[in-house]
């Protein structure tokens, strides 16, 4: 029997399309529903704290790239960072919330954009947490000795889903032409880009690498309804049998079932559940807050309300603010790609020292899921 090998992140890469877009220019790229400026946008921006983001959609509403295309660019950048070329790649795990196609999967679509000979691929479709699902598959495949160079990538082209045509003529717009809050909020929250990591069974010679100690992905979907979803109307979203394809595309659009939506009341509960899962990991000794040197969390501390920060503090679960690293405010919330875009900037910032531990936390409001990845710099 072969023993499991240690596996290391030896490279990271990101691709953010176009120039950064400031808050007052968002609707030039995603469009205005019935030509009207959003009433909610400013509130959403105050809450998420994002100042600039990127769109693969120019100000005329033309796509400048595809989700898979951005992923392929991020994979190339990560391979380059690892000192490898794309001929070295033998396993690709690709993650996204919404791929370019309904069929086939994101994995083969990214491979198609990347080009090159036969490799093994896997597709992971969820929301932000899909990044860690893909990373876990890539990590385990290297760990088990199946592959020697694996890449995990994640990408989003959210702005495409925010175009006015996704809402106009549907139940999401009222008779005064106003878009429902559960749809509009996300338009000012999510943006485009891709990120990737490369995993190998040995550290990169002469450079800092990150040994992956564990990746835990915990779904609480058994106790929660969808909280961020597309493909079902608000009232029937828990009944998968009434998913959008049952009614067909035109009827589903009219019912407001095609657009991406968020239930904010439920989100508050989901956030508490994430904190509960985290505290359980702390209690079990799986995460030791004192040993964490850097926290990369795909969620802004300001969005966790005071009561939760105080709960973390009083339960000895808090990680002090000076250990948090985040670029959400400048690159935007890129969904599944965010954690790799953040890790890439963090690694290039020169902050990390050999021997330090890095905890990555990726909550996913989709249906109450949260993932953790513990890394150590070697």
């Amino acid at each position: 029997m072969t023993l499991l090998r240690d596996a290391y992140i030896t490279g990271a890469g990101a691709y953010l399309p176009g120039a950064p877009v400031a808050n007052d220019r968002i609707e030039d790229h995603i469009g205005r529903v019935h030509g009207r400026c959003s009433l909610l946008g400013r509130r959403a921006l105050r809450w998420n704290g994002v100042q600039t983001r990127h769109y693969a959609m120019d100000s005329e509403g033309h796509a400048t790239d595809s989700n898979a295309g951005m992923c392929a660019k991020a994979v190339r950048a990560a391979l380059d960072d690892a000192g490898l070329g794309h001929a070295d790649l033998d396993y690709l795990a690709a993650a996204t919330t919404q791929g370019d196609y309904l069929v086939p999967g994101h994995g083969v679509t990214v491979h198609g954009e990347l080009g090159g000979g036969p490799i093994e691929v896997a597709s992971f479709q969820s929301v932000c947490g899909s990044a860690l699902m893909a990373a876990k598959a890539a990590w385990l495949s290297v760990r088990a000795g199946e592959h020697n160079v694996a890449a995990a990538c994640a990408g989003e082209f959210s702005s495409r889903w925010f175009q006015p045509g996704f809402y106009e003529g549907s139940a999401l717009v009222d008779d005064k032409g106003r878009l429902a809050a559960e749809a509009d909020f996300l338009r000012f929250t999510l943006s485009d880009g891709a990120g990737a990591i490369v995993i190998e069974p040995a550290p990169q010679p002469g450079a800092l690498s990150l040994r992956i100690d564990h990746i835990d992905v915990v779904s609480l979907a058994g106790a929660f309804e969808p909280c961020m979803w597309a493909g079902g109307d608000r009232e029937n979203r828990s009944d998968a049998a009434q998913g959008w394809s049952q009614a067909g595309p035109l009827a589903a659009h009219a019912a407001g079932s095609i657009a991406l939506l968020q239930d904010f009341d439920l989100l508050k509960r989901v956030i508490r559940a994430w904190v509960g899962v985290y505290l359980k990991k702390v209690d079990e000794g799986r995460i030791v807050p004192d040993e964490v040197d850097w926290l990369l969390c795909h969620y802004s501390a300001q969005s966790l309300r005071d009561e939760l920060m105080s709960l973390l503090d009083k339960t000895a679960g808090a990680i002090p603010p000076e250990k948090w690293f985040s670029n959400l405010a400048t690159v935007g919330n890129v969904g599944s790609a965010s954690i790799w875009v953040m890790l890439d900037e963090f690694l290039k910032s020169g902050r990390l020292q050999r021997g330090q531990k890095v905890l990555c936390v990726v909550p996913e409001s989709g249906r109450a899921l949260v993932g953790f990845m513990m890394l150590e710099a070697v």
């Binding site: 309804e225 009232e235 509960g276 209690d283 079990e284 339960t315 000895a316």
Partner: protein
Amino acid sequence: MTTAVVTPARGGEVSDVLRRLAVVFAEFEGRLAQTPLIRKLTRGRFSPDDYRAFLSGLRQQVKDGALWMSRAASNIGEAHLELRSRLMRHAVTEHRDFRLLEADYVAAGGELAEIQGAEKNIGSEALSAWMFHEASKPEPFGLLGAMWIIEGLGQIKALEWGRAAQRRLGLPDEAVRFLIYHGENDAAHIEEFEAMLGLVLPDPATARRIVRTAEVTARLYVLQIEEIVS
């Protein structure tokens, strides 16, 4: 639900117990969300009958709350007078709350005699028996765990449920006062609770008992909600 393994951690015993209690509460919330009544509420199939059944189901435990708290206070010895004082004050604050709940019931279209004459459901019987049993023991510090669950409900869930019921059913403010009043009045909850834990900890046996009592109370509370039928 399993009892957490007690391992030493950095923040001292009060932090350790608070963390375990937070985990118990998070799991409790998940189980509550799966009960038929709360599923109806969150999925928009909640009726006025469901709301009245909900109030009627809650009344029994609300009415008993101040009573078991008083009994617990009477079993606290001289070494913990401060905790005894706090429980007594707490009981005084809450012992008339069930009247508010009855008034809500009437404002929601129910008859006073109906809610006053309603029997405890199976879950309420079990919960009440458990509370009085624990409160009757000498130095019943484990009940701090029960308070964490029940106060947490008041602080975190009551407002959410009250607002959801009001929105779904178009109820007047006078019909949701109990749920909304609770949500708005318990903000300093965690600070006060931390101070109470500090009165009986560190003590490993007490720490374990507090967490265990929270787990049992949470399970029986869910049973009480499961058993509410309109």
